[in-house]
């Protein structure tokens, strides 16, 4: 059994809503999330805006302190890390962001941008560092002469490669890809996705891929988590979630996602979710999805469901999973 590189238990994050320095409410961004990311696999986190996936990701990387719950990296609790261990953690993890135009410092040349992690951790300096950077650039398919240029001379796809090269600096074990291909054209996205797959195999990486695009998630992920309003409502392998979605939200999401088959139109009107995502400041009582759920029953508004294992690691958080 593969070891879990990262594991969260009951991870919760609330943000205070302040008015004149007094707290008048809380944004329930992430609620009691249990997520395990096995080593060498890609976990895809899918959900719409406001579902908390970005906050969850930042909390896992210790960029935001959690309100409660624990995060384990290689079996050790992150909150108990010493300064040295935290530094090592930072070297072993990296992020790639969505917007290639704002994720590179416009005032730094490429050699400095990509080599930044190496400088921060003192792995290499000067000439040696430039050597490392050249290697990384080659890995992501960029050329030697690009080393001393500024980011604005590159296209979006190339910048994203640079961001990935920077993420690879320092030999991380884990890379968080936060909507890394959402801002790219389809043809460029294809190249980046292929490259990510290749790098994962070559360097034995573990990915957490966040996206709202179901097709990309399905293509890239081994395990998928579906988030809604701060909670994971369904989790399982690719086959389990896509071929046998059990949670009404997952079903709604899958049917809403435009398929590339013009003949598949008529059936897709069936599971159209009504309404909009409610505010995370006052989430609905009981099951947070119940106001929009086509299969809602009275008990859904009273008691929040727990994530249950239906079989073979397929987890669903619904009172009536499998019964509808």
């Amino acid at each position: 059994m593969a070891t879990n590189l990262i594991e969260c238990k009951a991870l919760t994050k609330y943000f205070p809503v302040k008015s004149f320095l007094r707290e008048i409410g809380k944004v329930h961004a992430v609620e009691q999330v249990d997520l395990a990311i096995p080593e060498g696999q890609t976990v895809g986190l899918v959900g719409e805006s406001g579902c908390g996936k970005t906050t969850l990701a930042r909390t896992i990387l210790a960029l935001i302190p959690p309100t409660s719950g624990e995060i384990y990296f290689n079996g050790r609790d992150i909150s108990k890390f010493s300064k040295k261990e935290l530094r090592a953690f930072r070297k072993d993890t990296a992020i790639v962001f969505q917007d290639p135009y704002s994720s590179l410092d416009p005032r730094m040349i490429i050699a400095d941008v990509v080599g930044e992690p190496l400088s921060i951790h003192g792995i290499a300096r000067g000439e040696d560092r430039d050597d490392f950077v050249l290697n990384l650039l080659e890995r992501v398919g960029l050329k030697v002469e690009h080393l001393y240029r500024y980011p604005h001379e590159f296209s979006g796809g190339q910048r994203q490669r640079l961001a990935i090269a920077r993420a690879l600096a320092g030999d991380p074990k884990f890379i968080l890809l936060d909507e890394a291909t959402s801002a790219l054209d389809v043809s460029v996205q294809a190249k980046i996705l292929n490259m990510l797959n290749r790098l994962k195999k070559e360097l034995s990486l573990t990915y957490l891929f966040i996206s709202h695009n179901l097709d990309v998630i399905r293509h890239l992920s081994d395990i998928i988590g579906v988030m809604y309003l701060g909670m994971i409502v369904e989790q399982g392998s690719r086959k389990q979630v896509f071929d046998l979605p059990l949670h009404p939200y997952t079903r709604g999401l899958l049917s809403a996602s435009p398929s590339l088959d013009p003949d598949a139109r008529s059936g897709t009107r069936d599971v159209v979710l009504k309404g909009e995502v409610p505010s995370a400041i006052n989430p609905p009582p009981g099951c947070r999805f119940h106001p929009r759920c086509p299969s809602m029953r009275p008990s859904c508004a009273k008691e929040p469901p727990k994530l249950k294992d239906i079989g073979m690691g397929h987890l669903v958080s619904c009172h009536f999973a499998g019964c509808v």
Binding site: R87, P117, G126
Partner: protein, 314 residues
């Protein structure tokens, strides 16, 4: 790329050259964009002229600016006295040449005091946020609540009328603007993805300030600095005009306007020429400042870069 130690000097030199190349390229592009704007070029010329006068003015002045020659008072502009003479018989042109340096000195001193304070306080406020931000900004607000000239006048009066005290007073009035500016920049840079990426790889606050925040603050500082020079020269002249700054017989331009004020009808040249001098100087700094702002604007640079590359490599 690895060479034996014997060639250390050569390899280091090459690396340095390669690293400097993109920076010099960026400077080249900046100058090219500046050259393209006629107004910016005019501004640059005016500023250069003013700087030249400020540095060398005293040497090329034909007459002694302080020597009193009562018999030659109020001579209108003529071949011997290009700008005429004032009420003490002193050549206005020579006085202006000598006085240029006071204006520039004022500008530089105010900025040398105000900018570092602004960067320090604004940087702390912007980077850390929280209570530090609140405390610093409220303190800044106190200074901003007063009309700047009145505040400068009060400080000047309290310290005693002299050009030096006027400069101190203006510094006190001016630092809040830079604090606000740097705080805004630091705040926006702090929120960017690249800073978050650096932080996620373990960068500490000091590293972030040094490598990310400060470099990204330089261009707004430069633009504001240039535009401000005009304002400060005007403000210094205003304070001197009102009697709070330069005292007679100092040939500071604002003072000269004030001295000639009563004689406007009989001898207009005593006030008008220094006034024109201030106008041209401030205009120059404003045009140059606008030009620099445009030259540093990323969108404009990208559009112009294509033309520039064609010219260099054709």
């Amino acid at each position: 790329m690895k060479l034996p130690k014997g060639f250390l000097f050569t390899s280091r030199y090459r690396i340095l050259k390669r690293r400097l190349h993109p920076i010099t390229k960026e400077f080249g592009l900046t100058f090219y964009v500046l050259r393209k704007s006629t107004l910016a070029v005019i501004g640059a010329l005016l500023v250069c002229m003013f700087l030249f006068l400020a540095i060398f003015g005293s040497r090329i002045a034909p007459y002694n600016p302080y020597e009193v020659k009562i018999r030659e008072r109020f001579i209108p502009p003529s071949k011997t006295h290009w700008f005429g003479t004032d009420k003490m018989g002193r050549d206005v042109f020579s006085r202006m040449l000598h006085g240029a340096r006071y204006s520039i000195r004022a500008g530089l001193i105010v900025l040398v005091i105000a900018v570092p304070i602004g960067v320090l306080l604004g940087g702390i406020a912007g980077l850390f946020g929280g209570w530090r931000d609140e405390v610093i900004m409220r303190f800044t607000d106190v200074f901003l609540a007063f009309p700047s000239l009145i505040l400068a006048m009060s400080f000047s009066a309290a310290l005693g009328p002299s050009l030096f005290n006027a400069m101190i007073a203006l510094s006190i009035v001016w630092w809040p603007m830079y604090t606000r500016l740097i705080r805004g920049q630091a705040l926006s840079v702090r929120e960017t993805d690249y800073v978050e990426a650096a932080r996620s790889r373990g960068a500490g606050n000091w590293y972030l300030v040094r490598r990310h925040i400060l470099p990204n603050c330089l261009s707004p500082i430069l633009v504001t600095f240039t535009l401000d020079m005009g304002w400060i020269i005007t403000a210094t002249a205003a304070l001197s005009f009102l009697g709070f700054g330069a005292q007679p017989p100092m040939p500071e331009w604002g003072r000269m306007i004030s001295d000639g004020r009563i004689y406007m009808l009989q001898a207009w040249w005593v006030s008008v020429f220094p006034g024109l001098g201030i106008v041209m100087t401030v205009l120059g700094f404003n045009l140059l400042g606008d030009g620099i702002r445009d030259a540093l604007d990323p969108k404009l640079r990208r559009i112009t870069e294509v033309k520039w590359k064609q010219r260099t490599f054709s």
